[in-house]
């Protein structure tokens, strides 16, 4: 043991001081005075409501993105002890002292700050010099729009962080010597970041797909490498698929798992979900349906909910008012009792299932269940009218049949009130009709038309309720034809009066019904992708082509009494540099490609590979994060451009370095040096002007100090920017 003690105790550490420096600056620019302004800023008003719901564990649907982003924001709120008791109702509302604003904004700001060192490291992994890396980091550091977007409770900075992390760790993996096994840690990290990026916003999908393309190109090269054995190639490929495909997919599902296990209370968006889903949440429907009998029997009292939730969830309904004899357009009706779909719970939503062969409206002991294929009649609980359809045009959709509560006016219009039960999600032919679980079509026996929610609102005579029709030309799969029993009990009252009292009484009994996580996941995911919100233009929305030249800005916040304000405005100089380098890269690439095709190799193969890789990641990243927006008809904002912009900031310094080392080579020896010097001076000048512009726009980025109207006017570099002046 003496030898051990004789050795000196040494720690060797290499610290990249540049990296440390930019990181510190990044933290300083992103985190200082984070809780100013102490008011709701722009989309905080949108994300805030979800954070509150997380704190209260109330279920919600947000179609704007998967749940990880909301969960990260909610985690920040949780750290600060936020209890969810704040009404996020308008931009500019002051936070009360109980809300820890700093912690709400902390996580996005941290992510935003970490993007800067990540940009630095990523440039190194693209095999460019430290100087280029520094350039990229400075561009990211001094970009006003990135700072603004990071400093509030918003998700773009988190998304950008994960995307950069994914690319960095993938390239780290790729550049590591193939013998080391530890490099697979980087690959796993890359997969995890991809899963996280897609989990924060769907937009992360674009970068993820790009990463897959880059990875498959590398794998393709690997497959072509004949020095490696077949076995080895197989193993390596499988590893990549596992880490880059399986891990992200599993993670994506995992976010939903966490989301759904957290949010177990019923809330405002319940109604969009199926009855089975609602029954799995605490409170709400489950309180009503708990312990209902499962099997629908003759004599059951039921409410029938339409399976579509568009335009609005509703229940089959009737009331003591008849269809008008003539509609406004002169067509006639049967003048029988109206049958509609009504979006609220109501005693008139109750229907009784009757055996056509018997008179009684109570359930036998033991109950006789209704099965697939059985023919039934439906009796409206409160008015005792039979659900009926006939060859009369429906009020709003004249190509379909009217559905009515039958009244015999003695006008040779016989009752046609038999309906066949068709359970569309049956597993066996003689399946029993089950509460909540079965999706049922009611097929009119006389005309074989199907009871359908047309989705059209009736005019005033129908109290603006939704029209119900019977449609003959049914499509094989359409949820507007399907109905589920939601509330259900076995009827016991023989007399109409008793029955009415029974219908008014609440349902009860206790059993808990579970649906599996997968069913919930699929349903939630499907709803998130299909729920259509009325898209309308926003005051600050913009079209993608305006982003390139930054024709547009977004006012995030205006002080309630002074001219202090925060805007999403980028650094115009960096923006110009980014566009310029994008253009330059494309030009250069075309020239290189054409010349190489003719056998003229301007740069050595290694440099060419580096150049191509730079293009794949940076120009490719810009393309996939920009072009899809041209095809979308969503409401779009300037901040959707930020991920694409980050790729360009990585591109610019790298391209400059490429030009410096390889293009100027062709100049005459003497000129060569002068050119290089000129380039350096130019680059320094650009950096300086970027810094100055950053300083100039700081008041609009941090919201302080307050500027006079005249100074604000001076900052309006473009006519199309909306800068607010408070009139005094």
């Amino acid at each position: 043991g003496w030898e051990m003690l004789q050795l000196p105790l040494v720690v060797t550490a290499q610290v990249d001081l540049l990296l440390v420096l930019v990181s510190l600056l990044a933290f300083w620019t992103r985190l200082s005075h984070l809780s100013y302004p102490n008011a709701v800023v722009f989309d905080e008003v949108y994300y805030g409501q979800f954070v509150s719901l997380y704190m209260k564990r109330v279920f919600f649907i947000d179609d704007s993105g998967p749940p990880l982003g909301h969960m990260i924001l909610a985690f920040g709120a949780y750290l600060g002890g936020f209890d969810g008791n704040f009404v996020w109702n308008r931009i500019g509302a002051e936070y009360p002292s109980t809300v820890n604003v700093w912690s709400l904004r902390l996580l996005p700001a941290l992510c935003g700050a970490l993007c800067v060192p990540l940009g630095y490291l990523l440039t190194l992994e693209l095999k460019f010099s430290h100087l280029s890396a520094l350039g990229a980091a400075v561009l990211l550091l001094l970009e006003n729009s990135l700072i603004v977007q990071s400093r509030f409770m918003l998700l773009e900075s988190v998304l950008i962080f994960f995307v950069l992390l994914a690319f960095f760790s993938y390239l780290r993996f790729h550049n590591a010597p193939s013998s080391s096994w530890s490099r697979y840690n980087w690959l796993i990290l890359s997969g995890v970041s991809c899963g996280a990026a897609v989990g924060v916003k769907y937009m992360g999908l674009f970068s993820y797909l790009l990463l897959l393309v880059v990875a498959s190109l590398h794998t393709w090269k690997l497959i072509g490498d004949k020095t490696i054995s077949h076995m080895n190639v197989c193993v390596q490929s499988v590893h990549r698929v596992l880490c880059l495909v399986v891990v992200p997919v599993l993670l994506y599902v995992f976010w939903f798992y966490v989301h759904l296990s957290f949010l177990n209370r019923s809330g405002p968006h319940d109604q969009l979900m199926s009855s089975a889903f609602q029954a799995s949440l605490q409170g709400g429907l489950s309180r009503i349906t708990r312990g209902q009998p499962l099997e629908v029997a003759y004599g059951s009292q039921v409410t029938l909910r339409s399976s579509v939730s568009q335009p609005i969830p509703c229940w089959l309904h009737s009331h003591k008012v008849n269809y008008p004899i003539r509609y406004d357009n002169g067509r006639g009706s049967s003048h029988q009792q109206q049958v509609t779909c009504y979006p609220f719970k109501d005693v008139n939503n109750w229907w009784i299932i009757k055996d056509p062969g018997r008179q009684q409206l109570v359930v036998d002991t033991p109950p006789r269940p209704v099965r697939h294929g059985d023919v039934i009649q439906l009796v409206h609980g409160m008015t005792s009218r039979f659900l009926n359809s006939h060859d009369v045009a429906a009020p709003m959709s004249p190509h379909t049949q009217e559905v009515s509560g039958y009244i015999d006016f003695n006008v040779s219009m016989p009752a046609q009130n038999l309906w066949r039960v068709d359970i569309s999600n049956r597993e066996a032919e003689s399946e029993v009709w089950k509460t909540i679980l079965s999706e049922v079509r009611l097929i009119h026996v006389n005309t074989s038309a199907v009871l359908k929610l047309s989705g059209v609102s009736l005019p005033d005579w129908g109290f603006r309720q939704l029209e119900v029709v019977a449609d003959k030309l049914f499509k094989a799969h359409s949820s507007s034809l399907e109905w589920t029993v939601e509330e259900h009990r076995y009827g016991t009252s023989q007399e109409q009066k008793e029955r009415e009292a029974e219908l008014h009484s609440p349902t009860h009994i206790d059993v808990d019904r579970k649906i599996s996580f997968w069913a919930k996941f699929v349903e939630l995911q499907w709803k998130m992708l299909t729920v259509k919100q009325e898209e309308s233009e926003h005051k600050y929305s913009s079209s993608p082509l305006e982003w390139i030249t930054m024709e547009t800005n977004i006012a995030y916040w205006l002080h309630s009494s002074t001219n202090a304000q925060i805007h999403l405005i980028g650094n115009p100089v960096s923006w110009g540099v980014a566009n310029l380098s994008l253009l330059a890269y494309q030009l250069l690439a075309v020239v290189y490609l054409l010349r190489r095709r003719r056998g003229l190799k301007d740069v050595p193969d290694g440099v060419w590979d580096q150049f191509v890789c730079l293009g794949c990641v940076c120009v490719g990243g810009w393309l996939v994060n920009f072009v899809p927006f041209l095809l979308m008809d969503k409401t779009l904002f300037l901040y959707h451009y930020l991920p694409a912009l980050c790729y360009l900031y990585l591109l610019s310094p790298a391209l400059l370095e490429h030009a410096h080392t390889h293009l100027l080579r062709y100049a005459h020896q003497l000129q060569h040096v002068t050119h290089q010097r000129a380039l350096c001076v130019g680059a320094l000048a650009v950096l300086l002007s970027i810094f100055l512009t950053y300083r100039t726009f700081c008041p609009l980025t941090y919201g302080s100090p307050e500027l006079s109207a005249h100074q604000l006017q001076g900052l309006k570099w473009r006519d199309t920017w909306d800068i607010l002046y408070r009139r005094r």
């Binding site: 393709w220 004949k226 499509k475 233009e537 054409l594």
Partner: protein, 737 residues
């Protein structure tokens, strides 16, 4: 592994092909023709499997071909005979208007009668239909009001026969294309039979529709594209020019023709890239190649396309139902239109009644009507919109700031910088704007009609500004571009081009824009001008030149196309339905007693196509991985090249529909279906599943026999009712025959 399995079989197959399968184009490409570059690498693929040989192909192959030219000719005759007989069989039935014949038959009649109409498709298809009708003695008098109308004794067979004839060429073209790409008769004959016996292709070819014409041009373009491959020979030029002509034809029938243009474009780029890498060619040669293609594939189609429109405008010179869609300048060309020879006062004056038209193409007239903006959309005042049709609600009266009464004597002219009040003639409300968000363009301000009988407020005042004019310049009717600047807020009257929802009668939004850039959207001109106190001067309305007409008609067509949104309750077909033959299209007849025709693909054909797409991708994946690992699969190159082209064609004609917002129908899939059938043919014979081919052919033809009533018409009970002859054939619930 893969090598051991595939190579020998492919070799034998290839040999067999070479011996027995001459390509038929030799019959008119004359004897000297050596095989092209492309061709070389393909045929060479069989021999040596590399890129190096380019010399031994021609002579050897030529000999082989010469000796057995006849079998392929016989096969071609057979294909032609079968396809003509299946397409022309029962061509006159049913003797009533079927489905879209009501549109295209009617438009054919318009050409015969020379009346102007508007349609969302370019004119070539309808012109040809009209021509066919004219030649066959149809006089253009049948009104084509709705599907089901009886033709009685009109000569409708000519138009149907014309479409069916073009439709009959599809299997022939498919045969030739596949033969060219794969060099295998078997492959070619399979592709052709798939199309010949597809009930869907038959049905869609038999009626007066644009689709057979469109598909004819698409297939002809692809055929000529795969044929031009020997540089600068006479036949090369011929095929190159034919490609260009067919591209123009395809685009001239429907805008879907754009997809085949993209296909040809990509193929050409690939071709040029290949030539660029060929170091034996000098840059001058490459420039020649490039220029030849630029001329034949860009310039020539463009000229032809423009010519088609020129003919369209020359032929249709009478006022008709399409007038309303176009600007007044355009309408002044049409005989019988009220603007044909107009006269009005030359300078705008106070007290004049005017219509004000936006300068954006198809921008519409400034319009108002007795309807308020609905609650929640700005202030609840009267709507002001832009309207594309002529209407008395487009009339506005120009007033001074204050006075409402008409002056005596000569009225003063309105000059640049004057303040005016525009009063809507019908409702006597003033054009008004205020600081409320506009209904759709939220960055702009709302424009309303406000006040009554001329009394309003300061927000009713607008400053007239003649673009490019100076203070004091008068406003010329029709010729001056005018802007209206709102006095109180400084914004400019603007037409955003967005369509208002139902409450706005789907007219176009009018706003007041705070951004003062001069764009056509914020510029207006005075069109109709009525002032009895001023002398009327005959104005030859600035006749629009041809390019303006062309541009305007295209913009109107695109608007119309994107305006075809699916309506509620209307059946809407989704693109994913199509390849699985999920749901057909009812061409004629609903009830049991009627003569019914149902457009539905032969399920066996379509499902084979679908399976072959999947199989093709797998095969390509396996083959290319094997090649990358260093196994030499000689024929994978042909598989990837020929099949890749067809796969790309399928993708280009199918994928874009997923992004389209307009209403879609089942028949939109048919061009893509042609490509997938050809792919099936090409691919099936590169696999060694020959017996499978034979089997599938047999099944397919039985099926054709079973399903032929769908195309040729059926009567009797519907399939889902008991006792129907078709009951057993309703394999999917969604089929509605």
């Amino acid at each position: 592994m893969a090598k051991a399995e595939c190579t020998p079989k492919w070799n034998t197959l290839a040999l067999r092909n070479r011996k027995t399968c001459p390509t038929p184009e030799k019959s008119f490409q004359t004897t000297f023709t050596p095989v092209s570059k492309d061709k070389n690498s393909q045929t060479a693929g069989h021999l040596a499997g590399g890129d190096t040989q380019s010399s031994n192909g021609p002579s050897g192959q030529f000999l082989a071909r010469e000796s057995i030219e006849s079998p392929s000719k016989v096969l071609l005759m057979l294909v032609a005979g079968l396809s003509f007989s299946t397409r022309l069989y029962k061509i006159t039935e049913p003797p009533h208007v079927c489905w879209d014949e009501t549109h295209f038959g009617k438009m054919g009649s318009y050409y015969i009668n020379r009346t102007f109409f508007f349609d969302v498709h370019p004119p070539l298809g309808k012109m040809l239909i009209g021509l066919a009708g004219y030649m066959s003695g149809y006089d253009g008098t049948f009104p084509f009001i709705k599907p089901g109308d009886k033709y009685e004794n009109q000569n409708y067979w000519g138009m149907r026969g014309f479409c069916a004839t073009l439709g009959s060429f599809l299997p022939i073209f498919a045969y030739l294309i596949v033969l060219e790409l794969s060099n295998s008769c078997t492959a070619a004959i399979i592709a052709a039979t798939l199309l010949i016996f597809d009930t869907g292709c038959i049905t869609i070819s038999q009626y007066i529709l644009l689709d057979p014409i469109l598909m004819f041009f698409i297939m002809a373009a692809v055929l000529s594209m795969v044929k031009f491959n020997q540089s600068f020979s006479a036949s090369w030029w011929l095929w190159l020019v034919l490609t260009g002509i067919n591209l123009a034809g395809a685009l001239g029938v429907k805008f879907v023709g754009l997809f085949v243009i993209i296909l040809v474009g990509l193929n050409t780029i690939w071709d040029l890239w290949r030539l660029l890498g060929d170091m034996s060619l000098s840059l001058v040669d490459i420039a020649k190649h490039f220029l030849a293609r630029a001329f034949a594939l860009i310039l020539l189609p463009l000229i032809l396309y423009v010519t088609i429109f020129a003919v369209h405008f020359v032929v249709l010179n009478k006022s008709g139902p399409g007038d309303g869609f176009f600007s007044s300048a355009f309408q002044s060309r049409l005989i019988g239109n009220n603007l044909h020879n107009a006269s009005m006062p030359e300078y705008l004056a106070f007290g004049s009644t005017v219509t004000i038209k936006n300068l954006r193409i198809a921008g519409g007239y400034l319009h108002s009507h007795w309807h308020l903006y609905p609650e929640g959309v700005g202030a609840r005042q009267q709507q002001v919109t832009a309207y594309l049709h002529k209407d008395y609600n487009n009339l506005w009266v120009v007033h001074r700031q204050q006075d409402n009464n008409s002056q005596s004597g000569n009225p003063d002219l309105v000059r640049h910088g004057d303040i005016v009040r525009l009063e809507h003639k019908e409702t006597t409300r003033n054009l008004h704007s205020h600081l409320h968000e506009a209904p759709l363009t939220k960055k702009h301000f709302q424009v309303t009609g406000y006040g009554i009988n001329g009394t309003g407020d300061a927000n009713d005042l607008w400053q007239v500004e003649v673009c490019g004019g100076q203070k004091g310049d008068p406003v010329k009717v029709l010729r001056s571009k005018v802007r209206f600047l709102h006095r109180a807020t400084g914004c400019a009257l603007y037409s955003s081009g967005k369509t208002l929802p139902k409450w706005g009668w789907e007219q176009i939004e009018v706003t007041c824009s705070p951004y003062l850039k001069e764009t056509p959207s914020s510029q207006w001109n005075i069109e109709d001008h009525i002032n009895p106190k001023l002398p009327n001067i005959s104005l030859s309305v600035l006749k629009p030149n041809f390019l303006e007409i062309l541009l305007e008609s295209h913009i109107v067509m695109f608007r119309g196309n994107s305006g075809l949104k699916p309506k509620d309750n209307e059946m809407n077909s989704k693109p994913w339905h199509w390849p699985i033959n999920y749901q057909g299209l009812r061409f004629s007849g609903v009830n049991a007693t009627e003569y019914r025709v149902y457009l539905l693909g032969n399920p066996v054909v379509w499902w084979i196509n679908l399976a072959s797409l999947g199989l093709y991708l797998t095969m390509v994946a396996v083959a290319s991985i094997a090649t990358q690992r260093g196994f030499s699969l000689e024929h994978s190159l042909v598989l990837v090249r020929g099949g890749g082209l067809l796969m790309l064609g399928w993708l280009l004609h199918y994928a874009p529909f997923f992004t389209m917002g307009r209403i879609l129908y089942f028949h939109h899939y048919f061009p893509a279906m042609l490509f997938s059938s050809m792919l099936t043919g090409t691919k099936l014979c590169w696999t060694s599943f020959l017996h499978l081919c034979v089997w599938s052919e047999a099944v397919e033809q039985t099926n054709f026999y079973l399903f032929h009533p769908l195309s040729y018409g059926m009567t009797g009970p519907l399939a889902h009712e008991p006792g129907s002859a078709m009951a057993d054939l309703k394999w999917m619930d969604s089929w509605e025959f």
